[in-house]
Symmetry: C2
Subunit: 278 residues, 2 copies
């Protein structure tokens, strides 16, 4: 199979998989998700994703009682049905299925939906262009919820301008990108916004910081401004599939390219860590 | 039938209606909705709901090409399949069905989902209790999107405390409730937050303001603080099904009850307008 979907015990190709219209994900976006890289049918950073997933569930107060062991067995069965050696698996849990009423439905059971398909890792050599947009998202961006309209609109705006990602800012202070984190190199220091309610605590972001420390590169977790971003030595976009994309342009202005050796050193360290851990 | 659902041409009881898992509503909440009252199988304030619906679609840039006439014909067919003389119909349009990628899918067709069922109008005599919560929603609350986690959590918090609704505030300034607007009477003036990006421009809210003006009651569309709410002569909760619910308690403190004549006069005017318009 090229892709496979799963919903509450049923497997089917993603395009054919059906779910109840009264799943609360459908009309409230009342659920949370995770996305993992799968190389040679093995999961990368599984524990970290599961830990964040449980935190997201707790915030939404979704009583998903399946153990990690049982969940991982289903995830494994799902990826094993797809041939690709390089997949991205997505899974979400919603509060359950019920007639539409805002308050939690009594006795509803959470629904588990999974998609997986072959998705290559993004090239990390070529420099990318980014746009800048105001961050108008809610106050809990640390929660990986499926309420994603702002990210959808930002990703589309970037695409229409031939760019890879949109950098969000609140009053001139950079938070993150539409579905990735933004890291900056300046004077040999790796800097990125702290993990508060304004950004998702990206797993890849965390690994880059860990590896920088191991390499003796100073790390600074304080937010930077747009002005500082334009003046960065390098900017790097990180997510599960974006392993430190380098940048050449921000909102149409040439930026970065001033510390390529450190940029490439960190990328290399990350790829070694990635392939060494799966 | 007690209820009916509709999805892209197929009718089924809501509990049995199935939709594709790859509908972008399911994993991005990438859609908008409306909810209307239906009395004796006729729609109340249809034009106003359709107008707001088109504005929400435009904000999300969803190219829903069905004419109002064709949409209304489907809505009518849906409500006609349910016996109840007093229904609430819900409809949503999502961007389409596709593999999960944030940017808009090429060539996808929007999906139309409808639910209707008998829902009685809420009693407007009994006074209700409200809780107060910080408003952590996104920056476009004027858009009726299906990204509704904050409203879900707030409605549940209210329910658990035996209350009807949660009043949202931003830095002490009242915006609206989790799925309704909040109006205040003070010294004979009807006051409520202006229709900017912080609140939904409620259809019922608009009618209350219109009727107040017709009755010679001064109207003030400037936001009020929580402090002012505690000191209100009356508070009224309005939505499609909540026709000016009176209030007796805010966050555990007794409030209101100081201008019952004007409260009841406005409620009565609204109900007459409602039944006279359908």
């Amino acid at each position: 199979m090229e892709n496979i979907g799963y919903y509450n015990g049923v497997f089917a190709p993603v395009e054919e998989l059906m779910i109840p219209a009264c799943d609360r994900g459908v009309y409230f976006g009342d659920g949370v998700y995770e996305a993992l890289r799968v190389e040679r049918h093995r999961f990368f950073a599984l524990e970290e994703h599961l830990s964040r997933f449980r935190a997201s569930l707790a915030f939404l107060r979704i009583p998903f009682e399946m153990t990690d062991e049982a969940l991982v067995a289903i995830l494994q069965e799902t990826v094993d049905r797809v041939e690709s050696e390089s997949q991205q698996i997505y899974f979400q849990v919603t509060r359950g299925s019920a007639m539409r009423t805002h308050a939690f439905p009594e006795g509803a059971q959470p629904n588990l939906l999974i998609f997986t398909r072959g998705v290559p890792l993004a090239d990390i050599v070529e420099r990318r262009r980014l746009i800048v947009l105001p961050d108008t998202r809610w106050g809990h961006c640390n929660i990986k919820s499926i309420n994603l309209i702002p990210s959808v609109l930002a990703a589309q705006a970037a695409k229409e301008r031939g760019c890879t990602e949109a950098v969000f800012h609140r009053d001139g202070v950079v938070t993150e990108c539409s579905s990735s984190n933004l890291l900056m190199l300046k004077d040999g220091v790796l800097r990125t916004a702290p993990t508060d309610e304004r950004i998702l605590p990206g797993v890849t972001r965390g690994h880059f910081l860990m590896l920088a420390r191991e390499l003796g590169v100073p790390v600074d977790e304080t937010a930077f401004t747009l002005e500082e971003a334009y003046d960065a030595d390098e900017l790097m976009v990180t997510s599960t599939s974006l392993h430190g994309l380098p940048v050449c342009e921000l909102e149409g202005k040439p930026v970065c390219g001033r510390d390529e050796p450190l940029l490439r050193k960190l990328q290399k360290a990350y790829r070694e860590y990635f392939y060494g851990s799966i």
